[in-house]
Every structure is written in C-alpha cells, then in structure tokens.
C-alpha cells in the first residue's frame, strides 16, 4: 500500500477494492447489506428470473420499516393484525417470503429487534467500523457514525449486491467538515447537522464523502454521531463518517452480531488504524464555529433552508443566486409563510418524534425531559412518538418515557419510518404544519400538502407544549 497520507474514507475504500479497471472504476467488496420492503422486491424478483442466488446471505439483514403501520401489530391473543392497505400488505409479504427463500436473516414486524434499518444495524452490532455498508435507502450514511463508509443505493444496485456482494464504483472526492469549539448548552447534534447543511447547501457535498472532525464529535455520544452522519445526504454527500474511538468500541461490544471473545481484540486493533492521517489532504474543507450554532429550524422545502430558532423567515430577494430566489419564493408559497415572520410565531398542528435521524433512546429521553409534567398545547391536533426499534421501545418503557408522552397527550407507537416519509398511514394533513424530528421538508414529504419544519427532538417536544415553533431553552432554563 502507498505511503501517501490518506483520509479515513480513502483507507476504507482501498481496503475494499477487489479490482481497479483502467477507466478508474473499481470493483468494491460490500461487507454489510441492509434490506427493507420498499426497495428490494424488484431486486429479489430479478434474481429469481435470472436464476441467481444471494451470494452472502450472512452479510445481509432484512427488516421491514418504511411501509409498516405503527399501530398495534398483534391483538390481545397475540395474533398478528393484518395490514388494512392491500398494496402495503403485499409488499411486506414479499419481503417476508423473499428473506427465507434466499436464506437472509429477517426480523419480522412483531420481533423486538424490528425497527428502522438504520437503527437496527448499529443496535445489533451488524454495522461495524471500517466496513462498507449499503442499503436501498439514502440515509444509510447514518452508519458512518460508527466509522463505516455507508451509503444509499438504488434497487438495481441492491440486486447487484445481493448477486455479487460487490459494487462498481469510482472513488468519491473527500470533504472535511471541521467544527471548532464547543456547542452551547441546549444545542444538539441535530441542530449542528442542520446548521452544517445550511452552510454547505443541499448540493454542497455532491460527489464527496464527508468526514466530520473536531472535538465536538469526539465528545458527542454515538447516537449523536449517528444523527449527524444520517443527514449527510441532505448536504448532497452519499456518505459521511466520523473516526471510531473508544466510545465506538464500547458501544459495539456485546451486541448480537459484534465480534466475540478472542476475536474482539483483533477487531479493535484493526479499528484503531481507522483515522485520517495527520497530513491527509481533503478535496474540500469547511470550517464551522460551534459557538455560532443555535437550535435550528427549517422555514422552506429544502433541508438547506435553515435558520436559528431566534431568526425570521428570510426574504427571497436576500439570496444572491436568482435560481435560489425563485426556489425560496416557491417554498414560501407552499409553506404559506411571509418574509420577516419570526420563526417562534409559526404555529404548528402536528408533532412527529421519530425517524432514522432521531428515534433512538437518547432522542426520546431528550423529548421526554421537556414534556415531563407538561401537556400538549390546544393547537396540536396530532402528535406521535415512534421509537426507532422494538428494543428502543422496550428501553423507553422501562424508563417510563412512554407514560411521559402519553400523559402529555401524544401517541406512543410501534417502530418504523412512519410520518418521516408519509408512506404508511401516518401522514400530516394538507395545509397543516408539523414540527418534525425527521430529515426532509420536501414538498409533500409528510403527506400531500403537508408543511414540515425540521427540528431536534427537544425542539419538537417544546413545539408540542407551546403549539408553535419554540426555543426549547425557554422551557428548560432554570428559574432565576
């Protein structure tokens, strides 16, 4: 191997190259493949038609999440409750059939291990540092929080990975997002990644893999790192990662598919080589001052449309780029917002706490801390809390968090992607607003005509209490 200093991504890439073609395309080995019901049926069908099998079922893990209703899944007698919508039922049945047919480990809808793919992978110790991880879902970058090179793929690539355990790829460019200084109290990893996307723009990371660097990330919990890496795609980057450290190893140890016994030390020894060399050069470098980050909220229909909660809806004319001006005008029309409106005056009718970005136990604890002893505001017609997995749900219930949410007037649901993408019955009604801990505020994302404001879990909880977008620090500040 060359002695040239390399970035973390370059080390992982090089370790997975099977062959380099003359034209620069590389055949790359894929260590881990997560499969869900929405982007896999056509891939399994293609294998079947061509008489191909899954090359490495043991490197593949299937779990339903996108389309699954989040209402009760078993009745009082423990029988499965059928899914009302026929198309959804058929799609879930296809995965339930395909997984055993191709020998793939499958967590069914009622298993405690079931959950959102990007919650399940790390939780089960399936996602490991230094690995290549793919899934037919753009938020796969999430697993980069463990120091993996993880990225979303389309269904044709899902088929390619199932059949060959490889992908044909060109090396990406590298981008460093270096955050200097400390985050202020009350500012969370979600606020930070939203701020970063606001700075680099939704296409800023296109063609790149981002490495998040700086003391902030070293001090951040693993769950916080997963949240940050999760939204890399909203900045255009297919992958985003953070170098693994002792916290990462401690998080992984003892999980079901993690290396065991005598192999653990060998794994850790390898993982300790996974960092960017001191002289490694990134193709692009962005420096963020942590002190400038405040609780963040979106005003428009792109994740780059971010302002601090203390800010106002911007005037489209304030953008230099004419196409951005036009996009902002269209966004404000869709969002029914006037320039200059303080964000804290925007009333919301719906609250969604969940998604692969923010449905882990720390997220639920943060939301519950704000909601404890409080009630949802009369403005709030619908508020749901959707844990990221059955295990997160059990943990939350053991801590009594479910009671906090229910007492506050929110609904406590079964795990899944839910209102993040409005594919199952969990949707925000047309013309209404939601304070949502998800990752996308696209037109129609949470349902046709739905108006989404992206926020952190604590901020979503604060909005539930006040019925409007709110600086959570006003609710959590110690009395003087």
């Amino acid at each position: 191997m060359s002695s040239k200093p390399r970035t973390l991504y370059e080390k992982i890439f090089d370790a997975h190259v099977i062959e380099r073609r003359d034209d620069g395309t590389c055949l790359v080995f894929i260590d881990r493949h997560l499969v869900h019901e929405v982007t896999s049926p056509q891939a399994f069908e293609a294998l079947r038609m061509k008489g191909r099998k899954v090359r490495h079922p043991e490197l593949t893990l299937a779990v339903p999440d996108h389309n699954l209703p989040t209402t009760a899944r078993v009745d009082e007698d423990g029988n499965r409750i059928p899914i009302a919508d026929k198309e959804s039922r058929d799609q879930l049945a296809a995965l339930e059939r395909n997984a055993p047919e191709f020998g793939v480990r499958y967590f069914d809808a009622t298993a405690s291990q079931q959950g959102i793919v990007h919650v399940v992978g790390p939780e089960q110790g399936f996602s490991l540092p230094g690995t290549t991880i793919v899934c037919g879902d753009s938020h796969t970058a999430c697993h980069g929080g463990l120091g993996a090179w993880a990225f979303g793929i389309g269904t044709s690539e899902v088929e390619h990975v199932l059949a060959t355990q490889t992908l044909l790829l060109r090396p990406s460019k590298t981008m460093e997002v270096r955050v200097e200084g400390d985050l202020a109290p009350g500012v969370t990893p979600k606020d930070l990644i939203m701020h970063i996307i606001g700075v680099i723009g939704t296409a800023g990371g296109t063609g790149h893999v981002i490495e998040y660097r700086g003391k902030v990330f070293e001090e951040m919990s693993i769950e916080g790192r997963l949240t940050v890496c999760n939204m890399s795609i909203e900045g255009g980057a297919r992958g985003g990662l953070i170098a693994p450290d002792q916290k990462t190893f401690d998080y992984i140890k003892g999980r079901p598919f993690a290396p065991k016994d005598g192999e653990w030390d060998a794994a850790v020894a390898y993982w300790k080589t996974l960092y960017s060399d001191p002289d490694a050069v990134f193709d692009q470098s962005v420096v963020i001052d942590a002190a400038e980050v405040e609780p963040s909220v979106t005003w428009g229909t792109s994740p780059e449309d971010v302002v601090p909660i203390g800010g106002v809806v911007p005037d489209p004319a304030s953008f230099a780029d004419p196409s951005k001006q036009e996009a902002a005008r269209a966004s404000l029309e869709y969002m029914d917002l006037a320039p200059g409106t303080p964000m804290t005056e925007v009333e919301v009718q719906n609250v969604f706490i969940g998604s692969c970005t923010n449905s882990r136990i720390e997220d639920l604890r943060a939301a519950a801390e704000v909601l404890r002893g409080r009630k949802k505001h009369a403005n709030i017609k619908w508020g749901i809390v959707v844990p990221g997995s059955g295990l997160v749900k059990l943990q939350a219930e053991a801590e009594g968090l479910d009671k906090v949410f229910i007492d506050a007037g929110l609904e406590w649901r079964e795990p899944g992607c839910s209102a993040c993408l409005g594919m199952n019955p969990d949707k925000v009604p047309a013309g209404e607003r939601s304070a949502s801990t998800s990752n996308r505020n696209f037109v129609g994302r949470q349902g046709p005509g739905a108006r989404t404001h992206l926020v952190s879990p604590a901020m979503a909880a604060a909005a539930a209490v006040t019925g409007r977008l709110t600086d959570v620090r006003e609710l959590t500040r110690e009395p003087a």
Partner: protein, 201 residues
C-alpha cells in the same frame, strides 16, 4: 439493458432547481413490487396543483428529454424515480448537476444524465419551448436546430455500458476469480467481519 446511442425529440422544459425524488414520485407510489406503471404518479404534486403544468401540455406528450435545474434527483435513493421517468417516456435528463444516487439509478435504467453549464441549460430551456433537441452519446453532444452545440462529459465506464447495452451484474459475475480471492483473504484475515449474522452461506 437496451443499447443507447441517440436521444432525439421534444424536451420538457422544467428548470426548477433541487427537484427531489419525492417530487418526481411521491412515497405512496412506492408500495408497488413492480417497476412498471409509475409514469402516472410522476410529478403528481406539480400536476395536481396546476392544470397548466408543463407535463400535461399536449406538445410535450411522450417527449423523450427533460431539461431541469441544478441538483436534479436529490433526496431519497428510490429507483422508482428513474422508473417513473422511463415510464413517462423520458430517455435523457439535461441539468447543471445531478445527485449521485439518482445519476446511478438513471444509468442502470439506460436514462442518460447530461450535465451542462447553467447557461447551456438556460438556452435549451428556451429552445425546448418550440423545438426538438438531439443528444448524441457517441459524440457526447447536445444540439438544436439553431446550430447550438454543447458537449458534455460522461464517465467512460458508464458510456461503455450504455453504448454496448451491458448487464452490469452479468459483467461483475465474470470477475468471479477476483471476488473469490478477496473473499478468501477476508475470511482468513478478518473472520469476525466475514461471519456477519452467522447464518449459513
């Protein structure tokens, strides 16, 4: 995959920036287990909001080209976006830039993604109102009846696959020896990694 050489015909001018895949095909269309029939759902929100939308104008019915704004196909990895475009007859998209995942999905379905500078795209948006456009993959050029000629870059491997109509999975399976060598080394060096979920291979 069918061979691709030239895409010629009317082009739908839709110059909006950051067209995301939720806009191209909303999530409720993703319940299908097939690749077919998604054209009906393409740009559903745009069509529902405005009866005069460009997609429903008769002169663009069956148009094989879409001209769009920067960062086309951002967001979700859903290949349904490519399938929906294909089903509505689109064989090529011209834009200043594309999201990485969409560009890959389009390629796998034989849809050309042609990246041109904004000025060129602006000119094509203008021409598209009244006249056809021609995209020649071999020559890597986009031309109009008015002597406009713009050349574009394309990944040589992708061009090769498109021109020859290659099945990528089939192509990779011919590299069996190299893949096996890698796998054997992995099993020897990092058995803890090769074990995965532990189900029998």
């Amino acid at each position: 995959m069918a061979k691709v050489s030239t895409v010629e015909g009317r082009a739908i001018p839709y110059g909006r920036k950051n067209i995301d895949t939720d806009l191209i095909i909303p999530a409720h269309w993703l319940k299908t287990v097939s690749r077919e029939g998604l054209g009906q759902g393409a740009f559903e929100a745009v069509r529902a909001d405005n009866p005069d939308n460009v997609f429903d104008q008769p002169q663009f019915a069956g148009a094989p080209i879409l001209v769009a704004g920067d960062n086309f196909g951002c967001g979700s990895s859903r290949e349904h976006a490519a399938w929906a475009l294909l089903d509505m007859g689109i064989r090529a998209v011209v834009a200043p830039s594309f999201s990485d995942i969409f560009a890959g999905n389009a390629f796998k379905n034989g849809i050309l993604t042609v990246a041109l500078p904004q000025e060129a795209v602006d000119r094509l948006l203008e021409v598209a109102q009244t006249d056809p456009i021609t995209i020649d993959l071999e020559a890597q050029s986009v031309t109009t009846p008015f002597q406009d000629r713009f050349t574009f870059e394309i990944d040589p491997f992708r061009k090769h696959c498109l021109v020859e109509g290659l099945d990528e999975v089939g192509l990779t399976l011919t590299r069996e020896d190299a893949i096996s060598r890698y796998e054997n080394r992995l099993a020897a060096d990092k058995p803890w990694l090769a074990r995965g979920t532990g189900v029998a291979a």
